[in-house]
Symmetry: D2
Subunit: 390 residues, 4 copies
């Protein structure tokens, strides 16, 4: 397979494959954003996104990919009076600290190796040691590591402390059982482009009343800006104008992705994410590969990361899997680049069949490069998981 | 026609109807942004956008709607040492001054009534009176007014002065004969969502070498930010990583919109924009309506604005045209809201047939509301223009 | 507009423009026809088509355009013992007689000029004079003439006589209030490609129990053939195999077209067909054109035919309307070719806005060719109809 | 996976998965069939189909699935004077004899077991014994068996004999190196819905001059009929009218499928079909399964058929593979139903990655049902083929 031919199967950790019906929704005729039919559709979409997050309020929809929405959260929420506790167990967690630094008074940071997770005990200690902490930020699934943080426990501690909690749930929401209220999040950021099988150019957010008040009190919170949460606060309502033109196609795709999630049923979607991840992990371990996560219980149900074997290069594995099998995996990113390979199983690729192909292509590619992988054994181990699903 | 049913024909000034092939391109399978096939496609798209603007360099592609790209231009280019000349002949021109104010040392502003155009003589005088002016900003087509500024003449003056010129050509490029070099623009911002018949969620920009240098010298220029030009500078190259995830669907739509422009031929596209605008203007004048533009020669070939007749309400005209004829027009925006109605004829709607329907529906709706429009006469005048195209 | 560029607006009498959602449905992933999910979908589609025709039984779905389905009806139903009464008021009605002749014992034919309609009195007389008549065939809307036959009255006479009735309702069903039971049809043939705003490659049919029995008794009825009704009789059921591969895309489009009809509401769809037709007729008459139909009450609500003015050529009108206005009309067909021009207003084009453009483009083109049309007056007359809708 | 949820991967032998760009082409706006832009497009499509078959003449395009086109070939070509040699090595070959019987004077048939192929020697003998044979019919790839006939050798014998040759190449053309001239075919029937990755509702045919003459001399050849070749003979030309309405969507899909074939390159397409088939066969054999084909050299590169193991039921294998792995295979058909399972690898699924998943899912499902398949060994054998592609 040549480089210019698109791959046969994309098993990346994002952008991920979208459901066909979501893709089709992107092609709907463009509506004038002030037309009543578009405004009614937008309002309904915001409400549906809220319902997907199990809240009564409409979601805040932002016209940008989630990374922008996280930058905007820092800009909008964190004031010059705020002391931030930043929890860094991966590239995105660490990165939030840099955004925070533009706005906060000071920051406390807990950092763990990027194959590990933040411990609630450490959070508890930090909050005790720094009663002035007013904002806490945590990434649920730090995608470049494929690892989860225990945000339910962390959220309870933050709530008890009385600080505001920002949760990056971009690549976990929709793929497992997590919602804003479960973790006491004040700003819970996610999007359709990962586990919902949508496209990457739009974000939706749950914002608590306390967070809205904090932003309104923040005189430096951006307005008339791409970084403003306040601009878009009420734009879900058909009676409020849009601050700037929404990406109509992305709104259509978002609506369809959330509909898809409801039609299939959240529990069923989570089930197949978890099953596919388990089959990937068991298959790859049996083939001889090593999981990246320090402990299997922190491995994400939406992305499987394995360590690049000694002596191999990540980009070589990528190239061989693509060239010989037509399968594309994700590499690491930032600090994890070169150290791991990632298999995304989100949305439409969270299906056991893709675990089989992922194991065969990943182990096969590593073997071609000299690593003694046992592909057959890997497939049998993955099948054992799949065959024993109840 | 009820409010929830989409209109039959959308003749708004943006978001505008897209070409069917562009809509279909939005539905292409999502590619991993680091896949070689996507990166090659992205590079080719940046080069094509550059070629459409008649330059050899690839365009800067930004993953946001043009208003964000203009905010980002102010943030990236304007340093605390810059003195800005802001030219305000409409809502968007005026608005740029507010963005500029966040970054500049000081600002000179020339403001004319929002149905008029900036005069080159005034620009010349301002530059003479303020030799310290280092950046000039102008909107080519201020869409909420439907009027053009003489940017070729203005650009020559700015170039002679030695300042950097920011041009907002969002709703003129592709609909008439204007390119960055024609007006000596240093930052020339446009997108597919207007005259190219694409979607609104992406922007492309021509940036001169001088502008890049100015941004690099600007220590406050945003990095790792949605407002950064520098982050995306080289991301067109297949060897440079993306700073954050691009909207893959919007990139596909952009590529197809630019292809469409080349396939049809730029001159032919401009011809039908101009013809449709002329038919609209003659038709509406003959029906009894009054053009918004102070002089017809500053009326845009891509949008026709007419004054709301005394005693009528803009939203009533909108509602009647939609309910009775299924046709949607644009209202004014900001300072022009309530004062004018706009007919967009951009991309696929820049066709004479739509001028006929626009005249019938606009004049018809005004008549239903009590204005003594002569619709038949309007149609005959529009037809006279169309029938006499060579 | 050059010949190779697609027209701006297609106002043909078929294939007609499809709704965007129907077109998107055509692009759904292809399913294996024996997959349970496809079979369940097919069964549901057949039931929905039945419901649209207001019957409890699923419709017979045929994998071909309606003309083939009519040929197949003749082949399947008409045996060597049958005496057929063929009612010919247009090209399609006349044509059925030729198909019938391949199979029947003998035929009685009532033929009227192709701008007129069959009178029930003539049918009554024919049935009285020929008690041996066992099958009657009638076209409801003979599209090449744009005229309707009084099939409710005719159906009652045929039912009283005890003959089987074949109704071609291809271009009337869905655009007006007509269903198999209303006209006592035994074979009622229609498809999504006209008033339902679907595509032309598929047909659905209501078949009475008596007609099925007649076909089963017909030893010459085709089996294992594209002309067989019996092959497909039970293929709606998920437990029956398909005799040959269905056009999966056309099935998807059909399902969406019928859904669209239900979502909008049949009465509302009929209302806008009738309104658009009335506006077309009044507008064209006021412009100076002559309706083709001998009497306005037999003019179809789904197609408006006007006589080609003396001295003009139909293909010239077609060419000028296309070249100057980008609007495509239908020509006549067979015996009506050269004599009339047709405006289709079916499905998405059955909207008053299209009547305005049709009047302007048709009258405008005729005037350019020398006919003294008054376009302004035509538009005013069309607007008067539209403005006075309740 | 429940029955109503579409499968994750469809590896059927038809309808097969289509390329995304082909599916999108199906959703293009509907053109009036007599519009010059549609007629030019149709003509170009017919020429492209001809070029794909390596002939200068445009292809005959028929508006139906290939089975109908084969029935129509029998109806159009075979006259009451013709003596037919029918070659039956599978369900479709055998079936042609029944169609032939409606029209021919007499028939000679060579039938072999449906896991075997026709031997040229037997054809040679039959032609020698029956000098009166005027028409020969052969299926290249009898899909319900997954086996090939040696049509190049057979074609040479038929040409030497002076008879006309009908070749059903529906599921081989485009997946391997075969063209009308290679086998001296007079009627060579194929379609986009198999190896070209298109949809099943349309057919294209190469017809020799001799065959056209034979049809014209055949007074019983259908006209004004779905079974007529002569009706459509010249409809490729923009100056010839269509006998009935073409399926515009299917024409668009066909054009895109053929374009795809040219863009990728025929040799490359054949290469990946052959590679995928080889990986499937080696993998399944190594897992313990038995190929259906009597000799591996007659196994098709586009479909792999394996025998249903003793004691297992084909529908159980289908159900388990679908339910547990989300993978859909084809069953047998007619005389092969119950005896074999089929894996289609045509068009987009002719990729090695799908061989891996096919082996895992097929062998895995059989093992779950009690057959002692060694899935790991199967995967290793398939990988060995893929890894050793040059």
């Amino acid at each position: 397979m040549t480089a210019n031919k698109p791959p046969v199967l994309t098993l990346s950790a994002g952008p991920v494959q979208s459901y066909p019906n979501v893709l089709q929704a992107m092609a709907r005729p463009i509506g004038y954003d002030f037309d009543p039919s578009f405004q009614a559709f937008y309002e309904e979409t915001a409400l549906e996104c809220g319902r997907a997050m199990r809240q009564d309020e409409p979601a805040l929809i932002l016209q940008a990919e989630p990374a922008v929405a996280i930058e905007a959260a820092a800009a909008s929420l964190i004031s010059a009076d705020d002391v931030v506790l930043n929890l860094a167990s991966g590239v995105y967690g660490k990165g939030f600290g840099y955004w925070s630094a533009r706005y906060h008074k000071s920051m406390v940071e807990i950092e763990v190796p990027f194959n590990d997770a933040i411990s609630p005990a450490a959070v508890e200690a930090a909050l005790r040691d720094h009663p002035e902490i007013s904002v806490v930020s945590v990434v649920h699934h730090d995608t470049p590591s494929g690892t989860l943080n225990p945000i339910v426990d962390i959220g309870r501690l933050v709530a008890d402390h009385g600080a505001l909690l920002i949760v990056d749930a971009v690549s976990s929401f929709g793929g497992m059982d997590i919602h804003p209220a479960d973790c006491h999040a004040d700003i819970f950021i996610t999007g359709p482009g990962k586990c919902l099988g949508g496209t990457p150019g739009i974000t939706f957010v749950a914002v608590s009343q306390a967070a809205w008040e904090h932003m309104e009190d923040n005189s430096a919170a951006p307005r008339a800006s791409a970084l403003s949460y306040l601009d878009w606060r009420n734009s879900w309502s058909r009676s409020a104008p849009f601050p700037f033109t929404p990406s109509t196609a992305e709104v259509c795709g978002l609506a369809e992705a959330v509909d898809h999630y409801f039609r299939e049923g959240a529990e069923e979607v989570w089930r197949r994410h978890a099953l596919t991840a388990r089959a990937c992990r068991e298959g790859l371990k049996a083939s001889g590969a090593t999981l990246w996560a320090a402990r299997e219980e922190i491995a994400s149900p939406t992305t499987t990361a394995i360590a690049v074997p000694d002596g191999l290069k990540d980009t070589d594995i990528f190239d061989v899997a693509r060239r010989d099998y037509g399968v594309v995996f994700s590499l690491g990113r930032g600090a994890t680049a070169g150290k791991l390979m990632r298999i995304g199983h989100m949305g439409p690729t969270a299906e056991p069949a893709y675990a089989l192909i992922a194991v065969a292509a990943m182990a096969g590619a590593m073997r071609k490069l000299g690593f003694p992988a046992d592909v057959g054994k890997g497939i049998e181990a993955a099948l054992a998981v799949i065959d024993n699903q109840e």
